[in-house]
């Protein structure tokens, strides 16, 4: 009789284990509206970086600069990214960002459209210039842009000078219609993704910012086993740091001062190193005239 009792107890307890439930601490059905994000008490300085490299790469490279600016200005600084150059330009025009690292063609468009102003330009190896480099997979037989006819080509951003305008200019120079020279084209929206697209064989070729390419190779030397450069453009004025038309002159002056003085400061040099720059210098709009000329010679591009 006692065995039966014990057995019954065991069975009951086992059943009990499955049926009892702890008191819920969270009610998923009891929902309330989220609080609206409050305006921060201190307005941060907003820095935009055009999508030359991928969003993650941008954060990795520019976060030290953001932190540096924050400590120098003694106010929070926020990094704002957008997918395209055009969106970054819109942010500048609307005054939603204070300063921006933009592409050369984006500067020209912004300068001509709404008065984007040059703040400083980075200098690499004592020159404030860069190149557009045409890259192909390492085992590709192509030796020039002419050999890429009927191939798959990766553009970076629709209005990128080095990634879209310059290769289109090369095709036009060869006497072809850019719209049907390549079998297929696609946008990667950043130069590092374009490099990876070629390295992984997604595209038969791409034109990228030489600064990004050098930086990528520096970070991952094995890339040279997958890629090679078949063409390097003449030197163009480097993509500048710009301000929108709505920035206060005093802030603009302070920012310029901080950026120009960075190479005199050990902290600043560390930041410059992470960006792949030697220092910042002032630059005149005239330096971008060759680019304006090429833009003028290139047929209008559809985004």
């Amino acid at each position: 009789m006692r065995q039966i009792c014990v057995l019954t107890l065991i069975i009951l307890s086992l059943l009990g284990c499955t049926s009892t439930q702890d008191q819920p601490s969270i009610y998923l059905s009891d929902r309330s509206p989220l609080p609206t994000i409050e305006d921060q008490a201190v307005v941060p300085l907003r820095v935009s970086v055009a999508a030359v490299i991928s969003p993650k790469g941008t954060v990795e490279s520019y976060q030290p600069l953001i932190d540096y600016l924050s400590s120098k200005l003694n106010r929070p600084v926020e990094l704002v990214q957008r997918r395209t150059y055009a969106e970054t330009n819109q942010l500048l025009q609307a005054g939603e960002v204070d300063i921006a690292f933009v592409c050369t063609s984006a500067y020209i468009a912004g300068h001509d459209d709404f008065g984007m102003e040059l703040l400083v330009a980075p200098q690499v190896k004592t020159e404030a210039v860069y190149y557009s480099v045409l890259i192909v997979p390492f085992d590709s037989p192509a030796e020039s842009m002419a050999d890429l006819k009927g191939k798959v080509f990766a553009f970076t951003d629709p209005i990128s000078f080095s990634g879209r305008v310059y290769p289109t200019f090369l095709v036009t120079e060869l006497g072809y219609n850019p719209t049907n020279f390549f079998e297929r084209t696609f946008f990667t929206y950043s130069h590092d993704n374009a490099i990876m697209a070629v390295a992984e064989g997604l595209a038969d070729g791409a034109a990228v910012d030489s600064l990004v390419y050098d930086f990528a190779v520096q970070n991952d030397p094995s890339l040279t086993q997958h890629l090679r450069i078949i063409h390097r453009s003449s030197a163009f004025a480097i993509p500048p740091v710009v301000t929108g038309p709505q920035i206060r002159p005093q802030l603009r002056a302070t920012l310029q001062e901080i950026l120009l003085a960075m190479d005199n400061d050990p902290e600043g040099r560390k930041v410059l190193q992470s960006l792949g720059f030697d220092d910042f210098v002032t630059i005149e709009d005239a330096a971008y005239q060759p680019i304006r000329d090429i833009l003028a010679d290139t047929p209008p591009l559809t985004p």
């Binding site: 601490s25 998923l28 993650k56 954060v59 976060q63 997918r83």
Partner: protein, 475 residues
């Protein structure tokens, strides 16, 4: 073993012993199947639950890590539409995902899958450090357990991805498995019961047949034989049972034969005894009595003829001796075989015997005879007379009784005789083997020869009663 346990085990035996073998075997099979089924079900439930819990946790981690990886760029470039789409896809592509949401580094919800509003306390229920791989907690919610995993996005610089995996499907699966196992157990039980029923039929059929056969043997029917159904222990039992009944039948035959011989012999002895007594009694009566009577007449004549007073006196003395001897001879003849039993029947013979006894013994004696208007068969009359004679002799010799009574009554088909006394009594159970009670043995013997029954009621100090019942054969 304590007393209580003993009681319990006794009770268990009482229950187990109270049912037949068929029920026992069915019970064993059913209990085994149910026990096994229950054990397997519980084990499988536990194992499946455990395995699936682990899988849910892994699923929760992989879903949130995947979300974190894919959400990074969308968060960095503020692509809220794609981010929201990604969350909805995460929820849609995995049926276990109950919710997914993104928390900014400032600990605010950037995007979520709840649609309208956001559950209270959910945001603070789990978090993760920037350098951690992930952190999973089990949340008790109104919709059951939720495995909530937090994964830092882009080392926490873009916030935290949170995914909640619900265990509803797991519960459903476990319930389904349990149901299936229980159904299987019931099916197996049904098969088990059928098989057990068949098995018990096979097992108990020879046993039941043996039971019927032993009952027949108990009734004295040795002709019953059982079949050997199987080559097992029960088959051996059947064989040995058959052998036993053959031997029993043989022994019974022998016994009956011997009994018949004995009865015939005893009957012969009794008849010879009675005949002998009758002859001696007649001889005493006819020859010896006549001689003594002649002697008496002679002595009287001698006395009358002789004038000498001395011889006359002497002849008178001799005549008195002869007269006493004649009385003794009469008495002896009467005791040996009262001719009145043959001539006038049992009542008269008993009457005379009782009267004789009254003369010789100081005891109150009653006799009551009912329904004996017609004569009984001579052997029964003789037997009842001798039994009464023997019983009374016993009473006079041993009982030290003051009063005794004899009742003889004829019913329709039997004669009942009751002989009672108020003497010192005895223990009837010890009497049968005692030499002092050879008389009782003789009584019993006579009664059994006539297929009658004898009941002795006696205890020490409370007198003795003999109840004798003798059937009258219809002839």
């Amino acid at each position: 073993m304590t007393t209580r346990e003993e009681t319990n085990s006794n009770r268990l035996w009482a229950v187990a012993g109270g049912v037949n073998i068929r029920t026992k075997i069915l019970g064993i099979v059913l209990a085994l199947v149910l026990l096994l089924g229950a054990a397997v079900t519980l084990q499988v439930r536990a194992t499946v639950s455990k395995t699936m819990n682990i899988q849910l946790e892994e699923q929760s981690v992989s879903a949130s890590r995947d979300l974190a990886a894919r959400a990074t760029d969308m968060i960095l470039i503020n692509d809220m539409y794609s981010l929201h789409q990604l969350l909805l896809d995460t929820e849609a592509n995995n049926s276990n995902v109950r919710y997914a949401f993104i928390v900014t580094p400032n600990n605010q919800v950037l995007a979520h899958t709840f649609g309208d509003g956001f559950p209270q306390n959910l945001l603070v229920a789990n978090t993760v450090e920037t350098m951690e791989h992930h952190r999973t907690v089990i949340l008790e919610t109104d919709e059951g357990k939720i495995w909530d995993t937090a994964v830092p996005i882009f080392d926490g610089q873009a916030g935290i991805a949170r995914v909640g995996i619900s265990d509803q499907q797991l519960h459903q699966t476990v319930e389904n498995i349990t149901t299936q196992l229980l159904i299987t157990t019931l099916l197996v039980s049904a098969i088990g019961i059928t098989t057990a029923a068949l098995l018990t039929w096979v097992l108990t059929r020879p046993i039941l047949q043996l039971v019927r056969a032993t009952q027949a043997v108990g009734r004295g029917d040795f002709s019953h034989r059982v079949n050997r159904w199987a080559n097992d222990e029960i088959g051996d039992l059947a064989d040995s049972f058959n052998k036993m009944t053959v031997q029993l039948a043989h022994a019974a035959d022998e016994h009956a034969e011997r009994e018949q011989l004995r009865v015939r012999y005893v009957n012969g002895v009794i008849a010879a005894q009675e005949d002998e007594r009758k002859r001696i009694a007649r001889e005493l009566h006819d020859s010896t009595s006549q001689t003594l009577t002649s002697l008496l007449i002679g002595l009287r004549a001698l006395g009358d003829a002789c004038p000498q007073p001395e011889i006359h006196t002497r002849a008178d003395e001799l005549r008195n001796i002869a007269a006493r001897t004649l009385d003794d001879v009469h008495m002896l003849a009467l005791q040996l075989r009262p001719s009145v039993l043959d001539d006038l029947g049992l009542p008269e013979a008993l009457e005379r015997h009782i009267a004789d006894c009254r003369r010789h013994y100081p005891i109150n004696l009653d006799l009551a005879v009912n329904g004996l208007e017609s004569r009984l068969p001579p052997n029964i009359e003789t037997a009842l007379y001798r039994i009464t004679q023997e019983a009374l002799t016993n009473i006079f010799r041993h009982a030290e009784a003051e009063t005794a009574s004899v009742i003889v009554e004829k019913r329709e088909d039997k004669v009942i005789t009751i002989i009672e006394d108020d003497g010192k009594g005895f223990n009837p159970n010890q009497a049968s083997h005692n030499n002092n009670h050879l008389g009782l043995y003789g009584i019993r013997e006579r009664i059994e020869l006539l297929s009658g029954t004898l009941v002795i009621e006696s205890s020490e100090g409370h007198g003795t009663s003999l109840f004798i019942e003798i059937p009258l054969s219809p002839a």
